[in-house]
Every structure is written in structure tokens, then in C-alpha cells.
């Protein structure tokens, strides 16, 4: 009981710092996830390109080389802690970019997420049956058109739950960026806790804020997912031709 009243006191006194921290956490998690998604679409798309029997020797070699590069990228960023990545990248590139911690933070979360997204997108691409690509090709669409217009939209839709999950993971894992002094929620919390020597209560507040952020996000994601899957399952069986034409004029 005392924990809760103390925590409440701390929150009322320091809420601007908590809110500011939460704001940074959300900004980093959101932009990191979106940029990571684009990296994933790019890398995942590249990894889905197959060596074809018509390819020349050089083309085969090139495809193989690119594939190995993506393989290394994914292995490195999935196989090392983000905290270590943050320290290394921040200090290694500081002389080059002379960057703010927040910018470095978004950069690090983005490429880290990109590695996970690449695999999510690749399996999303594989979940779209090959027949649809063949049908697109048989109509004369190029492999690029087929990927962009037929395969990727469905791959994204199929892997939306995993993509959303990355966002939630990023809300939590962006806390490791405190090691490069990004003023996100964890960093703010430990500053407050350190200045008033009340660790238990302060981190209790912090935990609740994280929980609110992740839980709200998961509800929003579920809502979006439902909307996406809510395709027309029924249709009028006695439309007139006029009706069809009118309805489609805007949507085409």
C-alpha cells in the first residue's frame, strides 16, 4: 500500500520527466519500427530473389554475393545484444556524424529491427503461394511488378502480427539506449530514482508506464489487424451493371 502511495507521490511530482521519457521512448520505438520495416522490405525482398536457370554466371555470382552480405547483416544484428550494438555504433560513428544520442538511438533501433524484419518479410513472402506469382508473370507482369503489386502487399498483411510485435519489443528494448544517454523512459526513471534515492517506487512507476504503452499499442494493433482482415465476405447477388460501374469508379 505504502509503495503505491509513494509511487503516486513520485509520479505527481516528477510526471513531466516521466512523460518526456515516455515520449522519447515512443518516438524511438515508432520510427525505429517503421524504418526497420522498410529495411526489412528491402533486404527481405532481395533475399527472396532466386537464382534462375537463365541467369548468366556473373549474375549468379552477384546474387550469391548479395545474399551472403544480407546473411551477415542479419546474423550480426540478431546475434549480438542491442546494448552492445548501441555502444559500439554510437562511439564508432561519433567522429563521423558527431550525432545526438537520440539520432544514434533511432539509427540503432532501426538497423537492429531491420534484421528481424528481413526474416519476417521473407517468411511473409514465402507464405504467398507461388501460383499467384506465376499467374502474374503469365499475364506479362515483370518480376518487379509481381513483387510490388501482388506478393509484397500480401506478405505484409500476412506478417502484420509479427511486424506489430516488433513495435512492442522496441518500446521495451529501447530502454537499453540509456547506455548512450538517450533520454528515454528508463534513463529518466533512473535519473529521478538516483536523485531521490527511491529506486523501488520510481521503477514501479516506470513499469506501469511501460505497461500502459505496450498494452495500449497491442490493443491498437489488434484493431488494425481486424480491420485489415475484414474483407468483404458477402456481396450483393443481384447488383445491376450500373451499380458495379458506379461503385468502382472511385476505387480503381
Amino acid at each position: 500500500m505504502e509503495l503505491i502511495t509513494n509511487a503516486f507521490e513520485i509520479f505527481t511530482k516528477y510526471y513531466p520527466s516521466f512523460i518526456l521519457g515516455a515520449k522519447f521512448t515512443l518516438i524511438i520505438a515508432f520510427s525505429g519500427t517503421i524504418i526497420g520495416l522498410f529495411i526489412g522490405l528491402f533486404i527481405g525482398g532481395i533475399r527472396a530473389i532466386k537464382v534462375e536457370s537463365t541467369d548468366s554466371f556473373v549474375a549468379r555470382l552477384f546474387k550469391k554475393f548479395i545474399y551472403i552480405l544480407t546473411e551477415i547483416y542479419i546474423a550480426v544484428f540478431r546475434g549480438t545484444p542491442m546494448m552492445v550494438q548501441a555502444m559500439f555504433i554510437y562511439y564508432a560513428l561519433k567522429p563521423v556524424f558527431n550525432w545526438e544520442p537520440i539520432v544514434a538511438g533511432i539509427f540503432i533501433v532501426s538497423i537492429n529491427t531491420g534484421a528481424y524484419m528481413s526474416e519476417i518479410i521473407r517468411s511473409g513472402i514465402q507464405s504467398v503461394d507461388k501460383g499467384q506469382s506465376e499467374a502474374a508473370r503469365s499475364l506479362g507482369m515483370s518480376s518487379m511488378q509481381t513483387m510490388m503489386l501482388v506478393v509484397l502487399p500480401q506478405a505484409i498483411k500476412n506478417s502484420f502480427p509479427s511486424i506489430g510485435n516488433e513495435f512492442i519489443v522496441n518500446i521495451k528494448d529501447s530502454s537499453v539506449l540509456n547506455v548512450i544517454a538517450v533520454t528515454e523512459l528508463y534513463f529518466q526513471t533512473s535519473s529521478i530514482a538516483g536523485s531521490i534515492f527511491k529506486f523501488e517506487e520510481t521503477f514501479f512507476v516506470s513499469a506501469l508506464i511501460y505497461l500502459v504503452l505496450t498494452y495500449t499499442t497491442s490493443i491498437i494493433l489488434r484493431f488494425i489487424e481486424k480491420r485489415m482482415n475484414n474483407t468483404k465476405t458477402s456481396y450483393p447477388s443481384s447488383q445491376t451493371i450500373d451499380y458495379v460501374v458506379n461503385l468502382e469508379t472511385e476505387t480503381l
Binding site: S53, Q132, S138, G140, M141, T233, Y235, S237, V244, L252
Partner: protein, 241 residues
Amino acid sequence: MPLIKIENLHKKFGNLEVLKGINFDINKGSVVCLIGSSGSGKSTMLRCINQLETFDSGDILFNDKSIVDKNANINKYRSKVGMVFQSFNLFNNMTVLKNCTLAQVKVLNRSNEEAKEKALFFLKKVGLLNFANANASTLSGGQKQRVAIARALCMDPEVLLFDEPTSSLDPEMVQEVLSVMKSLANDGLTMIVVTHEMGFAQEVANHVVFMDKGIIVEEGHPDELFNNPKNSRTKEFLNHM
């Protein structure tokens, strides 16, 4: 001059030789049915014709030009050679109408209006005008296959290839697809149909080709081939149907 001329076509998958020298002409306006037991190479041959599969040697001429010529535009060629698959392969995330307009707009550079008009015309032809705005994934198998046919027709193909178009349909839906195909044949569309529907072959085809183990064993007019097969393997196959 035949529309498509297949010359000494060879194709291997690894060590397995699937096509062992196919020679075969398809004339404009003819309906060719391709029959043969499982694994005889029917699908592979069809897929070679529109280059979903490459071949090892031989040639395929379309309007007297090799389709594997360095200067040939493969996408343009494919848009003239429609394909209807056993498993329909509609674009699941799109409406029926969008399935029919997408390639028209992207490949033939038609305007949206023009593409839509064409699509509605052919959806009417296959009896699915009312379903234009339905999502493709919500249709029954027979409806999906009719949409797939309409989608192919929208490209104004010079020939339509069918690979067992009714094999994955429930029996009660087979007829709706076959009757669409019959009406296309009556309109004079050139078609190559891999099928196990001997009734359809007998009634609609002008030419039947029997394939076995990668070669054409016998071909001829359906009346001749079905009632009076010359080769013993053809006889055996037909007796087992």
C-alpha cells in the same frame, strides 16, 4: 504458317528427362487437347510454351519468331499467351475486377476506364458480372476458375493455355467451367487444353495429342484417336480412363 511451332523440344529436371523431343504445330483457331498419364510431361510442355519453364534445346516459334530470341520481349510475349492454372491462382488480396484490370493497366498500359470496360465485358461473358466487386478469395472454385479465364481473356491473348482447369473442382462445378471453355472455342479462340475430361476433348477439340514419357505417341482428330487408336500405349491409356 502455324501460330505456334514447337521444334524438337528437350527439357530436363536434373537428370530426369521430361521432354524428349517434342514436335508439334498449333494452328490459329484450333482447339488442341493434350492427354496422357501423370508425369508424361504435359504441364512441363505447357509451361515451356509461356516460358514459366525454360527448355534445354529445340525451339518454340510464335508467329514464326523464336520466343527465346535475344531480342524477344518475354513479358510482351507472355501477355499474348494466356494461361489458366489448375489451382486458379487468383490474386487473393484483390477484388474480382482488380484481378482482371491489373495486368491490362500495368502491362498493356490501358487506361483504368478502358481496362474496366474490358474486364466487365469478359466477366459478363463468364457469367460473373455480379461478382465484380467481390473479393477474389470469397468465391467458389468454379467461380474462381471462371474469373481466371476472364482475367486471361482481358489481355486479348492470341492463344490460351489451360492446365487441367477442372481437376481441382468439385464435380458439380466442372460443367460451368467447361461450358465457358466451349463457348470460347466456338468464338474461334486458339486453345491448348491439358485435360482428363475425355468428353470435352471429344466434343470440342479439333486435334488431340497423346503424350507418354516425354514424347508425343499419337495425335489426330478426336474421332479417329478415341475410336480408332493406332498405338498400343494410346489404347491402354484410353481403356483405363
